[in-house]
Symmetry: D2
Subunit: 508 residues, 4 copies
Amino acid sequence: MEHKEYLVTGEEQKGFHNHVDYCIGTGRMGLALQKEYMEQLALVQKEIGFSHIRGHGLFSDDMGIYREYTDENGTVHAEYCFTYLDLVMDSYRSVGLKPFLELGFMPEKLASGDQTVFYWKGHVTPPKSYDGWYDMVQATLRHLMERYGADEVVTWPLEVWNEPNLPGFWKDADMEEYFVLFERTLKAVKEVDIRFRVGGPAICGVEDEKWIRCFLEFCREKQLPLDFVTRHHYTTEVPQTEGHYGYTILRDPETGFENLQTTRDIVDSFEEYRGMEIHITEFNTSYVPNCPLHDTNQNAAYIAQQLSRLGDVNESYSYWTFGDIFEEFGVPFAPFHGGFGLVANGCIPKPTFWTFRFFKQLTGTCVHRSEDAVITRQEDGSFRGVVWNSSCRRTGRKLELSFQISCGNAEDRPYFLLTETVDENTCNPLKLWHDMGETTHLMQEQKSLLQEAAKPAIASRRVDVAQVEGKGVLKFLLPVEEYGVIYFELKPICEGGDRGYDYDRVLG
Amino acid sequence: MEHKEYLVTGEEQKGFHNHVDYCIGTGRMGLALQKEYMEQLALVQKEIGFSHIRGHGLFSDDMGIYREYTDENGTVHAEYCFTYLDLVMDSYRSVGLKPFLELGFMPEKLASGDQTVFYWKGHVTPPKSYDGWYDMVQATLRHLMERYGADEVVTWPLEVWNEPNLPGFWKDADMEEYFVLFERTLKAVKEVDIRFRVGGPAICGVEDEKWIRCFLEFCREKQLPLDFVTRHHYTTEVPQTEGHYGYTILRDPETGFENLQTTRDIVDSFEEYRGMEIHITEFNTSYVPNCPLHDTNQNAAYIAQQLSRLGDVNESYSYWTFGDIFEEFGVPFAPFHGGFGLVANGCIPKPTFWTFRFFKQLTGTCVHRSEDAVITRQEDGSFRGVVWNSSCRRTGRKLELSFQISCGNAEDRPYFLLTETVDENTCNPLKLWHDMGETTHLMQEQKSLLQEAAKPAIASRRVDVAQVEGKGVLKFLLPVEEYGVIYFELKPICEGGDRGYDYDRVLG
Amino acid sequence: MEHKEYLVTGEEQKGFHNHVDYCIGTGRMGLALQKEYMEQLALVQKEIGFSHIRGHGLFSDDMGIYREYTDENGTVHAEYCFTYLDLVMDSYRSVGLKPFLELGFMPEKLASGDQTVFYWKGHVTPPKSYDGWYDMVQATLRHLMERYGADEVVTWPLEVWNEPNLPGFWKDADMEEYFVLFERTLKAVKEVDIRFRVGGPAICGVEDEKWIRCFLEFCREKQLPLDFVTRHHYTTEVPQTEGHYGYTILRDPETGFENLQTTRDIVDSFEEYRGMEIHITEFNTSYVPNCPLHDTNQNAAYIAQQLSRLGDVNESYSYWTFGDIFEEFGVPFAPFHGGFGLVANGCIPKPTFWTFRFFKQLTGTCVHRSEDAVITRQEDGSFRGVVWNSSCRRTGRKLELSFQISCGNAEDRPYFLLTETVDENTCNPLKLWHDMGETTHLMQEQKSLLQEAAKPAIASRRVDVAQVEGKGVLKFLLPVEEYGVIYFELKPICEGGDRGYDYDRVLG
Amino acid sequence: MEHKEYLVTGEEQKGFHNHVDYCIGTGRMGLALQKEYMEQLALVQKEIGFSHIRGHGLFSDDMGIYREYTDENGTVHAEYCFTYLDLVMDSYRSVGLKPFLELGFMPEKLASGDQTVFYWKGHVTPPKSYDGWYDMVQATLRHLMERYGADEVVTWPLEVWNEPNLPGFWKDADMEEYFVLFERTLKAVKEVDIRFRVGGPAICGVEDEKWIRCFLEFCREKQLPLDFVTRHHYTTEVPQTEGHYGYTILRDPETGFENLQTTRDIVDSFEEYRGMEIHITEFNTSYVPNCPLHDTNQNAAYIAQQLSRLGDVNESYSYWTFGDIFEEFGVPFAPFHGGFGLVANGCIPKPTFWTFRFFKQLTGTCVHRSEDAVITRQEDGSFRGVVWNSSCRRTGRKLELSFQISCGNAEDRPYFLLTETVDENTCNPLKLWHDMGETTHLMQEQKSLLQEAAKPAIASRRVDVAQVEGKGVLKFLLPVEEYGVIYFELKPICEGGDRGYDYDRVLG
């Protein structure tokens, strides 16, 4: 048991920027047509509530947007079908989401080559005709503006392509070609409406020096009205594959934070772009969708610390992904298969789901941030906090956190302390599924049981206000199991009570 | 910590008759028109699923059935309005319930006096005209048969009046007058359809010697085709009132079981009625709807033991009541007010709710019954059990139950042990509500929190099959907190698992 | 067939004030606890969408607010229970409604006598203690403010009592006593929060000269901060009763409009109150809840004309009532029983329901109002209209309305004309129910059939823009059956169409 | 106006076999994952209620079933993923459907060539390894039996491939190769469970002589335990293409019926197969999914006649398809695009939807079948009928049908005649959509309007029982517009009525 004491004075702690709910990731857009996908997303939105959603495949052929036909003279024309796009956007909006639109990949008929990525075969070669691309991008935006209103649609951020610095995602990882694509796309967009906000280069988070710097130099040279910079952020080593699964280990989080600082520094080194928004349009621990780590409490605790820090130099950070309807490595064989999702198939929240829900509650003024906790004070004088016990390797450490919070409460009435605990004992659907026998095909009653077991343990107590040097102080202990994440609320109690009711007498 | 060891051989244990889901109680029928009432009932039916429902007030004026008008000659006629009755019966059927129809109380215009009972003023005097009563009973049954089909409606048990041995419920507790009512009612019913099953005398469970014996003598003498006997069963002392609340203490359960045996013996002493069904048409701990005990874990554990025994000599036992929409002492002032219900207002399950849900799972063959537990074996070889730690006064006793169950499983594959725990730490909405400040008026988010906190803690482990003298034996410990109730399932595991998945490696 | 031609120039027609959705009536508040009540209300809100709801019985004992207890010294104290009030207000708010709070009737224990009104026995005598009344009113408002927020609750209009000019509703119709009640109530309210808006005298619409004038004189003399004046408005003769039903005939609507003008004139004759808001807090054709007229198409057409005129001198007009869960004359015996409601029991919209829905659509600028029609122009250049064929007695008149609307549309593209028709042939659930056999107890499939048949007939056509003197003109005919009400929309068509689609070719 | 008189004696008319609800068609199985697909299907099942569903693509790669991996020795193994299959089957079962499983098409990795069909690229070449196919079929069935129970799954009919007589669906339309496939598949299936029922050859309905005869000869020769024969049935000429659409004309229905008789005769000519079940596993008017005819009232009337006859020599007939989520020609550009579905995208029932619903009601004994009508008598003495006015080309014919039905009702009480009318005036969403402007992208309120307008017109009247030669006769006229379809019910009225209610007096 490791014991730590934290004194919380009540003064604002600068630095904690909570953008937890700005954006969430998703697999290819065509999956958004699916019923289970939407059920998982609806659960995420009900319990967490993100503002934006970003994924691949807007222009992939399963969305059916780009089409060609030949007229009587033999001339080939493009035409656009927005039937599925409307279904997807209607669905997103029905759960309160705006798209963070990634413009990619390439329709097969518009592709210059036949290289594809993933089981679902996203085309990743440059357009055979940049004019064709230009027209498609414009037609798509114009359609969206007609349907959802121009004033609304221009608030949807646009990102050009995905991870062009990887040859799997962009033929030969050809940087010069990407710059061509970026410039044409940005011009197409701004011509439709100058208010649109456009960013890139959406790189996988390595090679910053090369890609980010060159990208900004290119934009500066071309005087392109860039609106924001995007990159990704993963924090595990290269996985070892065994059967369908990839096993990996976590990296020291500080390495990643330094990496993000590097990007920030590069951007700020350009006078024109100093302070420009940087959006992490993907992050997670592992970058493979078959990594069992994603399903664990360890992941939840590690991500808690990430969420306490990622806002330091970034405007947003989009967890990749909300759910496990995802086909990059093919349709998964089992409900718990190490998918990226906050939710496992069968609509079962994973521990990390709750990390997001807990951070979502951290509104108000930050009064404490440490390596174990973040606490905020609300306008009504109550406090909310998240604490965690994270480490890259299992050590068996139990943590006991002792808080003393100055509440400035001259009165004597006690506080209501509510805790919601997610740890390997209380909220660990992966273990339950394992104990059941690791069935690959859940029956409905098994899904229901797992859903029920996947919820935080709720507990409460009353905390009296101690008077310390004339000021009210709330003292309490929070034990945190290894890989545990706990949310708490501390509220001054408005005593109700009814005539004749005596709780102590009830207890006997 | 008290440690007990139980050896379960796998042979059937006679005596345990599980009628837990036969019937549930409800306040006056008119309340069934309410939205919150139906929400509470729907929750009960979804999670537990009773077959019948019984309550008062079918003929009370808020149901609007009995009406009178005067024709042009000045003659007064009765007429019947079944608009609300249809709404109620439709609602009951929509959640899978048949009524156990209590024929009472008296419409004001048909009453011979003005004595009423309860805040809602149920009239409790005999009919001013037994012919009027006769016609009303018949008209009501005929209407129900027309609407729901004769074959269905004749399966609804009928009980004549409620607790006529108390002067508050039947003027002067006049036994002779009750016999008149019973005879006329039974004849009215059987004339409509001989298949109807009719019972009485629905007494509050005292004075058996007087009422039960006289009632049966009366029936025998009159050669009435009685179908079953009914009585009630409460197990607390007279409450002490303080403000809106009544505080009381539990009686030794054996006293109550003896009392029930007495009724059984009286019935069996009549040759004509030997072995006749006895239905406990009401039971609970306390008999007042403002007794905070009802909301506690202590109540849940006490009722667990009751449910393990009440089937010994009774055909059914109807917990009084399913929910807390109930007005006998007036509209309650607070969500937790000691109402009879399994569900508190705000749709919050009380601990006792889970006792019922747990016993509902006890299908199959009983292989163990003790003062702490009941275990049954299912056809598929799995086991289900309920254990509890009950006492009439708080003692601080923790119980540790050690089971050895012969599973006859020659194979070596382990079992999946699932536990669902309800105790003062894990599932105690009353405490949460108290810690919050005992607010009398819950906001929606408080209701949601209480609902969430009112669920059992789910845990699991694997139990290996030990080989003892060539037979498979499952050994495991179940610690039970004071007033705790635990449900468990033990199932042989069908190993799934996917290519490359290694749970131990996942844990690191 | 009577043919009329209307030329619509497109200029605004002053005088039409559309307050159709400001307020709707309801039976006693306790009924709002009912499930079917809320289903009917939800339907009304989904299809029409009122802002406020007003009914009787806030303080009647079925709401359980006022309670008394005696302390150990024998002193009697009042206490207040808001359990049901919260349920009702939560329900109202869940369907988007604010209450227009009528402060009445009297709790039995606070009543000075035992006179009651209606089957449900609302007490109508003055308080035995005005201090008790004062405290109850304040406690109720303070509770509501705590639960729903002060800023919200002060927007709920408050009306003192109901129809005190009728001895059935206020003992002896004692005007002086009412003034006492009004003054005390107003002071109680304003003391809680000066922002509350309070009105009266809520009279049944006769005796204006006496009651309205005296009331205003009283307020002026006492310098009471009156906020608005209220009265009721019914337009049929005294009904003839036969069995459960009251048959009546409609009065010439002009008589009623003149009556309303009289009230306006009286109010305006007071310098202090000139232009003060007048709210008609109840109106309908007949004032009895067993008048079959309410269920007819004739009622729908008559009310259409009312809705075109009632805003002339009144700030609002609240149709009495939204639904037929209503017990003033007892629980109704049949689904169609002449109840006040827009919706019959079984959730079946009556023809008048659609009159309200149609008028709700009449947003924008009025460009035509006549004895047969109202037409408004929307900001997008489209038109909406309601036409009707109303008369007090059946005459067999068919109406053919010919419209020429200047649309100022220089372009040539046609308009889309949509009509929704409610008349005795197309939307007449009463007839269907009669043809079925006037069953008093609808089975679910009969309800479904009636619901389906109770919808307007939808039709469409295209209307070409004729060029008349250089301006676009839309010419079209609308035939209206006797007692018919038709809603129409005229929208310029944005031609879609797809490559190769030819509708004429489809038709063959 | 053409007038026809029909005398209905009440005697059973042999020959009408109503299999309308046995099976319905669907696009590729992977589409069943979609939300809108399931919404359309849920609507179909709620209003019509089919028993089985059949479509293509069970083994296509979007279902993700067949997968391969290479072990450490370089050996390639097959493995199967049933994640999506479970989702689809769970969905089907949730709306009460069993699959009529078409075993096809080929997984890409198991295909011997690269020929594909449709926008969605179903592989149509024979397996590169019949052993691989064999194993996949068995693994799939075994998985389904484990999940849904063997006794249930063996009731699901199995059909081998689709339209192998067309080179687009089966490489080179190679009949011998199909027979190989059939034999191997049948053996694989029967080895899993002999109770499975298997059929073929699923041909597009031409070349019967060649395919059906040869297929049966092959089965006979090989002594294959064939369970049923399948074929398709379309009744239009080759379409002319214009843009995205195919225009065509209907064939005389008798041609089609003769064609079906031919198949029956061929089957019956084999002693071994005489009387064997023939299932039409696809039928519709046109066989292309871009034929606007499908959306019309003409289609509805034509299909009505088909439904009155298709049971003559076939055990079932599966309309192709239930909905318009369908991608064979790519994602459709507009909601009304001539898709096969009973429901247009946006959940809008087409006229033909109602033809199916109406025929679904035709339970009981057939007492009349003519070229215009089918009438059945129910056990309770009521009648149900469907009448239609169908022709292959628009002629303007209005039909007036006069029925005299012997009802054998000695009593005098009238009948309730209910009609539900679908014709170009009353239920024609295509016209409404055209009048709106043929928008390709419906907003929600447009969808709602179209849904509302896409319902039959309901009307009612009372029909008196005339006494003809001592027997009760019901006489009534039904006018039927061109392309109209009307459903009617005639029920003896159980007069309800309430004290004092007088409908004539209500009407005034």
